[in-house]
Amino acid sequence: LRLKTGRRTEYEIYWEILSFCKPGRTFTQIVGRCDLNSKIAQEYIEFLSSKGYLAKVPEGERNLYKTTVGAGEFMSLFTKIYQELFDNSPEFKL
């Protein structure tokens, strides 16, 4: 699932990066999957790392970014709220 940038809130982008990085991802993979340019992606990664939500893990010759246990609370809240706002609203039908 790829997302277009410019239409998402910062929290939606945080969640998307954290969700994608659960198994550990390279910077290039994050840029590609989350449709971010390098500069913006770097800013997001630095912010999430500073909050302890993302950790840099060396693997061979490359570095992987991996979501930490500390991000769990934010991710659970985000998932709960977004699923509820969809579930609690009236369904669009033809």
Partner: protein
């Protein structure tokens, strides 16, 4: 819970996809019919000019309504509006098709994160397409009114005592009137469903905006 929401998401997605496809079909039909209508009437005007039966100011006024000039003009306006209607419809269709494909790819293995990602993507889609959906409603309504006006003119023309049609002519005129009425009604009804879609997603957008305060507190307090 995620499974129940995923089913609801799929149903909504199919409804909206069907609506956009219907919309593209009707706008395409509208454009084709209005272009042919404009060309037929423009050719009739050219013919009258060649024969010298119009082109003085007074004779144009005397032919009103409905003169061939007016009908050609109406056809051109309707074609322009239909083109705008079709472009807006195609814009809306392109990305919803991507989301539908993503949903189909994940079908049967959609987990909680996958579902949330689809919801985020659809909210982002709605944020980006809000204006296009409003524009679409406007062009669709104006286009619908043009087609209903055209049907009214065609009915008026068919009912004049001088209009002598054979059986085939009458069938063609009736077909044209019915097509115009169908497209006119579609042009007016379709925006109603887009408004329903907008109301649904506007609610979700507002709820997500309210939730930002909670996210902010959590992230900035980390």
């Amino acid at each position: 819970m995620a499974e129940k929401i995923a089913i609801k998401f799929g149903r909504e997605l199919n409804s909206f996809f069907s609506l956009t496809v219907i919309n593209v079909v009707f706008s395409g039909m509208a454009m084709g019919i209005s272009l042919s209508f404009a060309i037929v009437n423009a050719l009739a005007v050219v013919d009258m000019v060649m024969k010298g039966t119009i082109f003085t100011f007074s004779s144009v006024i005397a032919m009103w309504p409905p003169s061939q000039v007016f009908l050609a003009f109406l056809g051109i306006v309707a074609a322009g509006l239909s083109m705008k209607w079709m472009i807006s419809s195609a814009e809306i269709l392109s990305e919803i098709d991507e989301i539908k494909q993503d949903y189909a790819d994940e079908s049967g293995k959609l987990d909680s994160d996958g579902l949330t990602s689809l919801i985020v993507k659809t909210i982002a889609y709605y944020r980006g397409k809000k204006k296009a959906i409003k524009r679409l409603g406007l062009f669709s309504r104006i286009g619908g009114i043009c087609f209903l006006a055209n049907a009214a003119l065609a009915i008026n023309g068919a009912l004049t005592p001088s209009a002598g049609f054979g059986a085939i002519g009458l069938a063609l005129v009736l077909t044209s009137i019915l097509l115009n009425i169908a497209i006119g009604i579609a042009g007016i009804i379709i925006p109603h469903f887009f408004s329903k879609y907008s109301a649904t997603w506007e609610y979700r957008l507002n709820e997500s905006a309210k939730a930002e305060q909670d996210f902010k507190k959590m992230v900035e307090g980390a």
